[in-house]
Amino acid sequence: MTETVAQKPKRPLPKSRVMVAAQTAKVYQDAWDAKARGEKIGWSTAIFPQEICETMGIPVLYPENNAAAISAKHLGDDLIAYAEGQMRYPMNICSYARLNLALAEKIQDPAYNTADPLLPSPDFVLLANNSCTQLMKWYEQLSHNLNIPIFFVDCLFNYDEEKPAAYKVTYIRKQIESYIAEMEKFSGKKFDWDKFLEVQKRSQINSKLFDDIIQLNTRVPAPVNGFDFFNYMSCLVLCRGKESTTEIFKQLKLEIEEHIANGTTSFPAKEEYRVHWEGIACWPNLGHNLKTLKNYGVNAVINGYVTAWNIVYEPGNLDSMAYAYATSSTNSLTTETIMNMRSDTIKKFDCDGMLCHVNRSCKMMTFHIFVGRNIVEEKTGVPCSNFDGDQSDSRVYSEAQFETRVQGLVEIMKENKEAKNG
């Protein structure tokens, strides 16, 4: 994920990006080293209470993040074809899942080295279904195919209220408690509650820092090309509780403040229009997305996906932590709640439009768009435009359609601006 925009660098990478790359490489290397020592390593869904394994010093890697990175390097198609062919998974299931289920089988052959980054095979998986139900089915398959245990925190779905009822929070909190006890047994390591508190505090520092950074892009023109934020998501997905993430975010903040002080930006064109990007990135097509947006002077200054990893809770309070994991993913909330949040963000970031990725792999996000774009249009008055794509399956995306949709959106935004300016 961190290397996505770096494939054709036009200028040296900022220091924060170099730090991200080093941190990600270290996480992978730590897992490979632990595996080589005969220690257990895990794979985890992206919004799992990672603080527990972080506290226990158990290496964990993240297939969603890994699938994004592989797709961005255009290395995913063969794996997806393998999942659909030899493994018989239907093409309608999530492309991250198809890619990863194939990879999980491929890496059983020690000679396999095509994917990059390459994951060591897991000894257990960590599952939280707050992003979607498909994660549960995907991890069931991993568990079944590799014959390894699942540690599961069922985060429910907030179907008609933003705030989960107390009995729901209790259910989730009890699962976290049970998971800690089970992981102690499984790993043979004692859980250190004091260290846990420190990891929780560090997670909160990092979440707050990242939120502060995102808010800097409310400035007009924006100091950051919104797509750049995709490059820093891995810090919160892989290393939310690490001090190295704090250092990266401090550096990133410095770089952005420098842009602000100098009146410069990382957006590679004049910012004519500001849009909210809705949905996951089209990782295999990121280059075309960015090039097209740049050509039309459209900066996707903010998107809900990069802010989905801020898990905000009170350190030392497990109920608060359970609540946070039940509500942090936008896919765990109702369409109305999400689109009200999006409307507020669009106003705050002074967006002229909303560009929605109808992601063939993500039913939840697509439903939010189909059901909720009217809410955004009514509340903000900005136009919304959809385009078809996928987070990993390159067959779904059409360059021509994307360009046409952006062009259409720009025409409306232009008319709106002209009308506004008289």
């Binding site: 139900t133 498909q134 069931e140 779905f157 008609d160 109305e336």
Partner: protein, 374 residues
């Protein structure tokens, strides 16, 4: 005198056109609660003196649902949304919807926007079922559903009433299971379509009334001489084995259905409601006892074993995997099911189930070939 044909016809009329049953209940002054599949606690509706009515969509080419539901929405829920938006469920007081998959999560929002005249009562089953906390949670969740149903019914739903309804539902399940057993001795009479009709119709009738009819069917079947079926036999697995035309293709090819793991059929009836604390805890425990289902989290799913065991028990030569189009939970399990059948040396057949088309030609060819193969 009532004969088998008239009993089958009575159920067929309802299964083919549930609106007839709905109107009958509404005219009689009953309140009706729509129940989305599957594992919705109908017993609470029944205990409130209202009629739980299954919402299983139907064959239709959606014309309005696409406004809120993308093309890759599972065809069953897309049909339900279509019917709701077109007013075909008019008269239903509310709809109970379990958040069993991503499509449900999405359709819950679509329903609220698109079907404003039928309030939604959403609820969720706990999936981490090995902890005691999951039963406590689900009992509380069912309690919240009960409160909403009480507001519609206009009265409190007593524990005694729920216990009584649990008895009605357990008796119904037992009757359906017995019917499936007895049916296998009379495969000349109980065609795949009739077998399906008997079970499907139960979703649109008060369960006590349905049990009475099924019991009569069982009695009359038992009076017939046992038939030695000379054709082939299969097991069906999936969400539904519809439409009727698809089932007729099995009959045309001299294939009988001798067992199933369909969510619309036997999955509904194979797990009794146990006695477990209060009635809400009993209903919750039934969910915890369920296995071998794509909507239920289970480490090392027992579904492959279940369909193989069913095939062996009933002498089926093949397993037909009825794969609901765009049903992701089923699609994830597809390779596992094929492999389980292969490992057992039982041929399997994949059929696409799609409520948005009446065209079964692809299935016709597949079933014909399968009949020759098994």
């Amino acid at each position: 005198m009532v004969n088998l044909d008239s009993l089958f016809n009575e159920l067929d009329t309802i299964a083919v056109n549930p609106r007839i049953a709905l109107d009958k209940y509404l005219v009689s002054g009953k309140k009706v609660i729509g129940c989305f599949p599957i594992y919705t606690p109908e017993e609470l509706v029944h205990a409130a003196g209202m009629i739980p009515m299954g919402l299983w969509g139907g064959q239709t080419t959606p014309s309005v649902a696409g406004q809120y539901a993308p093309i890759f929405t599972c065809s069953l829920l897309r049909s339900c949304l279509e019917f709701g938006m077109l007013g075909k469920y008019q008269g239903i007081s509310a709809a109970l919807m379990p958040m069993l998959c991503d499509t449900y999560r999405g359709v819950s929002g679509a329903w609220r926007v698109g079907v404003k005249d039928i309030p939604l009562i959403a609820f969720i089953h706990p999936q981490n079922r090995k902890l005691a906390a999951s039963r406590e949670f689900l009992a509380a969740e069912y309690g919240a559903v009960k409160t909403k149903l009480e507001a519609i019914a206009g009265h409190v739903i007593s524990d005694a009433a729920i216990k009584n309804s649990i008895g009605v539902y357990n008796a119904h399940q037992a009757a359906i299971r017995e019917f499936c057993e007895v049916a296998n001795d009379h495969l000349d009479v109980v065609t795949p379509k009739i077998r399906h009709t008997v079970m499907k119709s139960s979703h649109f009738m008060e369960k006590g009334a349905h049990t009475a009819i099924v019991s009569q069917i069982i009695d009359k079947l038992k009076q017939l001489p046992i038939h030695q079926w000379k054709g082939k036999k299969v097991i069906l697995t999936g969400i539904t084995g519809e439409p009727d035309d698809l089932l007729d293709l099995f009959a045309e090819n001299k294939i009988a259905v001798v067992g199933d793991d369909l969510a619309q059929e036997s999955r509904q009836f194979r797990t009794d409601i146990p006695k477990c604390g209060g009635p809400l805890e009993s209903l919750a425990q039934q969910w915890l006892d369920r296995t071998a289902c794509s909507t239920v989290h289970e480490v090392n799913s027992s579904r492959g074993k279940l369909i193989v065991d069913l095939a062996r028990k009933y002498g089926a030569q093949g397993i037909a995997i009825c794969l609901m189009k765009f049903c992701d939970v089923e699609e994830y399990e597809y390779p596992m099911l094929v492999k389980a059948a292969e490992d057992a040396g039982i041929p399997s057949l994949s059929l696409e189930i799609d409520q948005s088309t009446m065209n079964n030609e692809q299935s016709r060819t597949k079933i014909q070939s399968f009949a020759e193969m098994i």
